[in-house]
Amino acid sequence: MSNGATAHASGLPEAEGLAHVSRGALFAASLKIGLLGFGGVMPWARRVFVDERRWLTDRGFAELIGMCQVLPGPNVVNLAVIIGSRAQGPMGSLIALTGILFVPVVIVLVLATFYASVATSPWARNAIAAASAAGAGLILGTATRLLIQTRPPVRGLVMGAAAFVTIGVLQWPLLWVLPALVAAAIAWEWHAAP
């Protein structure tokens, strides 16, 4: 994590490892995330971009995801646009989108064609139910790992907990709660920052 510390000192954690990523490497990584992202793409995005390729630190990843969540659109699609752009400009965004989004679309259409025969089999239904349960766990595990790696200060933990409780537990409408949470988090960080 010494790498992460120096990257963050520059104030541009998210750009650090991405500047010289080739188009081929970008497509390969995006495709891997798109193809393996069963039950949620976020765990795979973190694993490939942070652990495997080391293009981002955990902190940089969390900051980019924060930006993706504030903007409309599917979060992982936004992440592909940003990471692709950082690596190779507008063409990079298109390359990353193709891998993460369009190749899985083709697969899901093939799957949809055969769905009727699979859906009636009880063992397939049971396997899918169990994989969905594990998929939810992968997302919870990703959040836990990010929490451990980024070590937010108490004010960050409070704001993260507020986001979890209002959106996850109370199921309040995100469209109203998120702007309030973001404003409060920025105001608090602003006030506390040296």
């Binding site: 646009v81 940003i82 063992w123 939810a136 602003w190």
Partner: protein
């Protein structure tokens, strides 16, 4: 032919409009998608909608896959691509623009403050989406245990998530997790 183009155009603008309000991603606007697709446009029944959602969960790729399937149901393969491009296009352009505006703020000393403030909120939201999915998926004790085991494996080990999902599916075939 004109009829098909008309449906594709309708599908395109409906998805493009949804794209720009999808703060928090596709799962956040699923109720609105359901309202448009089932109640307003009468493209399919509520049961069809639920089945497409389940099918999207079964496939790899982002949650936006459910939109591709809705397009497919409404207007075939062309519908799937029109819907996918329309649900991602406007928000992606906005995101690209926002990124460049953000980069122009490079000299602004407080930029890092905003980024630091967003990160924990983002983690809280990921936790919330995992929790929401778990509430739907964990109908039995075994399913709950699978969720916890998968979370622990990802948080504390470097096990490849493929093995976690494969092991869970295998355990599931015994019929305890449904």
């Amino acid at each position: 032919m004109n009829e098909t183009l008309h449906v594709l155009a309708e599908l395109g603008w409906r998805c493009a409009a949804l794209s720009l309000v999808a703060i928090g991603g596709i799962n956040a606007i699923l109720p609105e998608v359901h309202r448009v697709v089932v109640d307003v446009e009468h493209w399919m029944s509520s049961a069809d909608f639920a089945e497409l959602f389940a099918l999207a969960q079964l496939a790899p790729g982002p949650n936006a896959m459910v939109i591709a399937l809705i397009g497919w149901k409404v207007a075939g393969v062309a519908g799937a691509f029109v819907a996918t491009i329309a649900i991602c296009g406007p928000s992606s352009l906005l995101c690209y623009g926002a990124l460049h505006w953000w980069d122009r703020l490079r000299e602004w000393p407080r930029r890092a403050v905003v980024a630091r403030a967003l990160a924990p909120v983002a983690i809280g939201l990921i936790l919330a989406s995992g929790y929401t999915l778990a509430r739907g998926a964990d109908r039995t004790v075994v399913a709950g245990a699978l969720t916890l085991a998968a979370a622990a494996a990802l948080a504390f080990t470097r096990i490849n998530p493929v093995w976690v999902l494969a092991a869970a599916a295998l355990i599931g075939t015994a019929g305890w997790a449904g």
